[in-house]
Symmetry: C2
Subunit: 224 residues, 2 copies
């Protein structure tokens, strides 16, 4: 019940909320396109169909975020625009070469992004907080990806090394783009810094994110 | 009411229905993947989001076809498998180089495929006939594509020639793969030939398809 401290009075500025929802909305569009592209790497039709179905689910989330942006008086396209270039840069630099790299990217990247989003949701007013939590990636994809990675590593333990290096590269590229976004979007950066400071502070937030990431890596047989 | 002649007694063999639904199911998966890939060619975020949303709708259709295949005692993956190679060949040979080629491909190709599917639906039992008619491509995509093509040709009439050549190539490649499918899937080919013969015959069916295609070309400023 500690969340009730972000009451009506403590609502974050609309500008920051628009920046956050714009980032998440564009993230959904990209996640959709990426899963759809990954589907083509799938080794069989069953896995390919599963991925297509999961990709389609992202569009429902996108639609809800776009509707909320419009309601807040923002143009969804304009709100998403600032994130096109940094997110594109991340994806250009981390183009998976095969099915397992694609799954690892989804498992590692989407999960860190979701953990971060869940933390930031706590800094929002009730309504946006609920919306943001509801549009987090469908955990079925992470579970599906984790099961595939684990079974492939079991079958061929040498894979663990290559995929661990790949995962570290994903995190490094992700952090580099996140810093770019933080510098370019001061309202959003302030929302996060203030929100974290009101609680246990930024270092505690980063520590939680890092620990969860480490636990996920270990769970599928990868190392940090 | 002439459709009632395909009563319970005149039900086509399950084998042929499975071959048809398998083809349509795989077509939906491919249409989804293709629209999702086309979205990346969109000139702005608004058009990109529209395309992603329309792509996602195809997955609902895929799911219904897969469910019906299972109900008929078929494995959806196995039913779709024979179409992977010919449909892939078609798409590999008609990879759009830009946004307008992508839209023309969707407008021309999906519409011919839908007209054909609508004709074949008449040869099925009531239940499958309704399912097949319901999973035809969302006409919003064809309308969206037609409006875009028309306005681009209005702005630059020289485009009409290039896109007309492109459309003819699409039809030629499509027919070539359709012949391959007809030869490899005798139950499906028999369903179509018998169904057409029971009505006005295959030449009349082909004439209707050709006329509708010609009218669509003219409607957006392209020529046959």
């Amino acid at each position: 019940m500690t969340e009730s401290i972000t009451g009506q009075a403590g609502q974050p500025p609309t500008e920051a909320v628009v920046e956050l929802l714009g980032m998440l909305g564009y993230g959904e569009l990209l996640a959709f396109e990426r899963m759809a592209a990954d589907a083509r790497l799938a080794p069989d039709l069953h896995r390919r169909a599963v991925l297509c179905e999961m990709a389609a689910a992202e569009i429902g989330s996108y639609r809800r975020l776009a509707a909320r942006l419009t309601e807040l008086g923002a143009d969804p396209e304009q709100a998403m625009q600032p994130y096109v270039s940094p997110l594109q840069a991340y994806h250009d630099r981390t183009e998976p070469r095969d099915w397992l790299e694609a799954l690892t990217k989804a498992y590692v990247g989407d999960s860190v992004a979701d953990d971060f989003t869940r933390e930031v949701a706590a800094f929002l007013g009730v309504r946006d907080r609920e919306l943001v939590r509801e549009v987090l990636h469908d955990s079925r994809y992470a579970e599906f990806a984790a099961a595939e990675i684990r079974s492939e590593i079991d079958a061929d333990p040498k894979l663990a090394n290559r995929l661990s290096i790949w995962a570290r590269r994903l995190v490094g590229e992700g952090l580099s783009q996140a810093q770019w976004v933080a510098a370019a979007r001061p309202a959003l950066a302030t929302l996060i810094l203030t929100g974290a400071a009101d609680r246990e502070g930024v270092p505690a937030l980063l520590k939680r994110l890092t620990q969860a990431h480490g636990a996920r890596m270990t769970a599928v047989g990868l190392n940090n």
